[in-house]
């Protein structure tokens, strides 16, 4: 009975995850009326007319391209700047390193809604609204705290003697960072990269604040506005959801282990 109860609970929860997902996926191949008649069943055929329609009626290709650019650039620079800082913190004297570490991790406590109003007016004054670069700069700045936190935690576990030995051998700081610190930090770099990928790809708040022109919208913001366009036409909304989620889903299927490690790295103390 004990065993059975456990199994039943696990299956029920699995169903609560799977059924909405399958409904989303199948309904992208259905018309509205087909979906309401038969919400969870297989579609009559796997024809891609909803996908074709959404690319025709909206600037889907542009949104997708914008999301790719913003995410790639934001992740790359956040990782680069954060790893430089993390390396510097581990090599500075305790006092300075601690001060910097404290300054950055303090930022993890500040919710985005606290500084979004002055940030909005700053971006406006710098004439960076409706630009992808404005979005990227903000993305990088706001995710530095968590990236510095994870990477510093990891770099501190690398034996100091290793860095010092290289310095004695005549390597300058840049060389030690490039040849020793970065390669040895690869596990935590990849975990942080995945964490940042998911965060930047899915972010709604900053595009909502800074972007009003269609040509600069990213996927989450564009999706949000489909609500107005398609109302309760759920097959079309879900087609948008599938396109926006496809890169993450594909990556998750292949890199599951890394995703799980990366997505929890931000929450577990290093």
């Amino acid at each position: 009975m004990d065993r059975l109860g456990k199994r039943v609970l696990l299956i029920i929860y699995a169903a609560i995850i799977i059924i909405p997902m399958l409904t989303v996926f199948f309904s992208t191949f259905k018309t509205t009326s087909q979906m309401y008649e038969n919400p969870i069943g297989l579609p009559e055929s796997f024809n891609f007319s909803n996908y074709v329609q959404i690319f025709n009626e909206t600037a889907m290709a542009t949104y997708f391209k914008n999301s790719v650019i913003v995410t790639l650039v934001s992740v790359t620079f956040t990782l680069f700047f954060a790893s430089l800082i993390a390396y510097a913190i581990t090599r500075m004297n305790k006092w300075m390193g601690g001060l910097l570490f404290g300054l950055f991790t303090l930022g993890m406590m500040v919710p985005a809604q606290v500084n979004m109003i002055p940030l909005y007016s700053l971006i406006y004054r710098l004439d960076l609204t409706n630009t992808l670069s404005g979005l990227m700069i903000v993305n990088i700045s706001v995710t530095l705290p968590v990236a510095v936190f994870i990477l510093t935690g990891f770099m501190k576990t690398i034996p100091k003697e290793l860095f010092e030995a290289c310095t004695i051998d005549g390597a300058n700081n840049w060389q030690v960072y490039r040849r020793i610190a970065l390669p040895l930090s690869l596990p935590s770099l990849s975990a942080t990269a995945i964490f940042l990928f998911v965060m930047h790809w899915n972010d709604l708040l900053y595009p909502l604040l800074f972007i009003t022109k269609d040509e600069y919208k990213t996927l989450p913001l564009a999706l949000l506005e489909f609500q107005g366009q398609y109302m309760t036409n759920f097959p079309m909304l879900f087609t948008g959801v599938m396109i926006a989620s496809a890169p993450m889903i594909i990556a998750y299927v292949f890199l599951q282990r890394y995703f799980i490690a990366g997505m929890t790295a931000g929450s577990v103390k290093g």
Partner: protein, 289 residues
Amino acid sequence: MKAGKSIYLFVVPGLILYLIFFIYPTISALFYSFTNWDGLSTEYDFVGVSNYVEIFTADAIFRKSLVNNIEFMLFVVIFQTLFSLVFALFLTKNSKRSVFLRALYFFPTILSSVSVAFIWSYMYDPNLGLINTVMQAINLDSLALNWIGNEDIAIYSISAVQVWFHTGQMLIIFVAGLQGIPKDLYEVAKMEGANKWQTFKKVTWPLVAPAATIVVAYTTIQSFKAFDLIFAMTRGGPNYSTEILATLIYNTAFRSYRFGYASAESVIFMIVIAIITIVQMRVLRSKAT
């Protein structure tokens, strides 16, 4: 051997961005909270603490949002922690089945809040949604509610979505904690004749407490930051029944154009989070030891 002065250059690019685009706006929020700035004009007046006075004495919507936020937090913290702990206990071993189910339960975490909002807007739709379709099919029409349209239950409906969204993530933290418990402890408990509940109380719980601390702390903060999900599902409605502090601040600033007043709200928001974090750390730490 020390790293030399050039090490300071490594900090420069990140620090500059961080100071300009994070620290400076955060401090400015405090400054603007004492003004009546509307966000559009270049001029504004200092109004002292009158924004704060208004929030505490005359703002029913702020109070409602705070209460909603606390309800949302309690619901999510209780159920998300409970579910993730129970499932982690079931799925501690690295068998094929456990690994598969953990990956499945984790799956929603990788989706965007907007996608999750769309999925559940459909599930909850009073006429077309899957939940009510099923309720009607099994003759439970009385349970076919207007899940996010009914003021009395909307906040709980959204809380359930948040639990669905992140339980898998918290489960992983519990599994990591549980896998760190030495197996011999369980053998000793078995030899001593402890039953399952006693084993859980005396062996598992004390050793999984650090993981629980992380889960509760993280979930609490997460439920205060659930802006994207709520904004995409209800915008805070109907009639402010799902307004939480994060959505309220956005609406005050970008719908009512009261930037100064919204800044005051955001300062209070920051203080609320700080207080909760400190209280929680105290309570959880004393429990853990």
